[in-house]
Amino acid sequence: MAPDEQQRIQSALRGDKESFATLVRQYQNRIFGFIMRMTANRDTALDLTQETFLAAFQHLDGFRGDSPFSTWLFQIAANKTKNFLKRSGWEVPLAEGYDQPSNADRPDYNLEKREQQRLLAEAITILPYKQRLTFTLRYFEQMKFVEIARVQGVSISAAKTNFAEALKKLQSRLSGL
């Protein structure tokens, strides 16, 4: 863990909320991106990002520092996401609200690209939960398998198998897009 990050965590534990706010700013886009890819819904991702950081704040004293802070955050985000999906009966509104608002004004962002993004998001969100989680953490977040295994509570070989399976499915679904 970077020394300044450790210092921020220690400061936050002593009650310095600004230090925690700095940690939020540092990780919020990664957490948001992760939840977006898992749920394909922008509003849900915003809500769950907020819930993730709030839970992290409430349980900060439980962070022991034996794994990177980011892994701990992703673990919380993954559980928030899982709970949300469980509540929704594992159904995600396919790619609804996936559109990035900042893209709307871009001249190169046409309907075709929007449709392509929707299909991509759909291909990921219809992966079984564990494969989706593993793929998102490994491919997009470049998390090490040992950390993914920690987030999921599975063995490293199981994490690798989930990733390979997800990859195979995506390859077959996306060929021809």
Binding site: A12, L13, G15, K17, F20, A21, V24, R25, Q28, N29, F32, G33, M36, R37, L46, T49, Q50, F53, L54, A55, A56, F57, Q58, H59, L60, D61, G62, F63, W72, Q75, I76, N79, K80, K82, N83, Q100, P101, S102, K113, Q116, Q117, L120, A121, I124, R138, Y139, F140, Q142, F145, Q152, G153, V154, S155, K160, F163, A164, L167, L170, Q171, L174
Partner: protein
């Protein structure tokens, strides 16, 4: 390295930033058309996934999340580890009492029914026999960091619990668990005792 190992390596190292082949992998790819084709397929998939690589909040969304967090955080304090430890001590005593009661119940059940060796089924309410609520039992299985206690070393237990546990909401775990799930947990925990 053979083709299977090379493909496995390529798969394991496939991330959004691309694959940086080692000299050994690169040498194999130079000579093997099949593996080269596989590397090409991964590169094509990576290109297709590009639109999903760059996802971020807008400035307005980001400010909204920060403001909401700020408001929420004003009403709460970061828990003090020392006071939590003290509180945990009392919880542990209560939990130990509950576990002792459970073991007693299990032992009695086994002795009174020697034919049926399956684990007896209990209702959630059984956990209140000692005055300890179901929520109080949750820390038996996870600590505040969401990790399993050392007693739950069995991989099957780890997998099972990971499917059930939200590290930030340990109290909700057993509340929503079925009596059968709780029995399973208690059985494994008791065996460790």
């Amino acid at each position: 390295m053979n083709c299977e190992q090379v493909k496995s390596w390529l798969t394991d190292n496939f991330t959004v930033t691309g694959i940086e082949a080692t000299s050994e992998i690169a040498a194999h790819l130079d000579q093997c058309a099949d593996c080269r084709a596989y590397a090409g397929e991964l590169a094509a998939l990576s290109a297709e996934l590009t639109p999903l690589a760059d996802i971020s909040m807008t400035a307005i969304e980001s400010a909204g999340v920060e403001a909401a967090l700020d408001t929420a955080m004003r009403t709460m304090a970061i828990p003090d580890r020392r006071s939590r430890r003290k509180k945990n001590l009392f919880s542990i005593i209560r939990i130990a009492t509950a576990v002792a009661a459970m073991i007693l119940i299990v032992t009695v059940s086994f002795r009174t029914n020697s034919v049926d060796t399956s684990y007896p089924i209990y209702n959630i309410d059984d956990f209140e026999l000692t005055g300890t609520s179901v929520q109080d039992l949750a820390p038996l299985f996870v600590n505040g960091n969401g990790d399993l206690l050392p007693s739950m070393v069995d991989q099957q237990a780890v997998n099972y619990l990971t499917d059930q546990v939200d590290p930030t909401q340990a109290e909700d775990i057993l509340e929503s668990a079925t009596s059968e799930e709780i029995n399973w947990l208690m059985k494994n925990y008791s065996m460790e005792m």
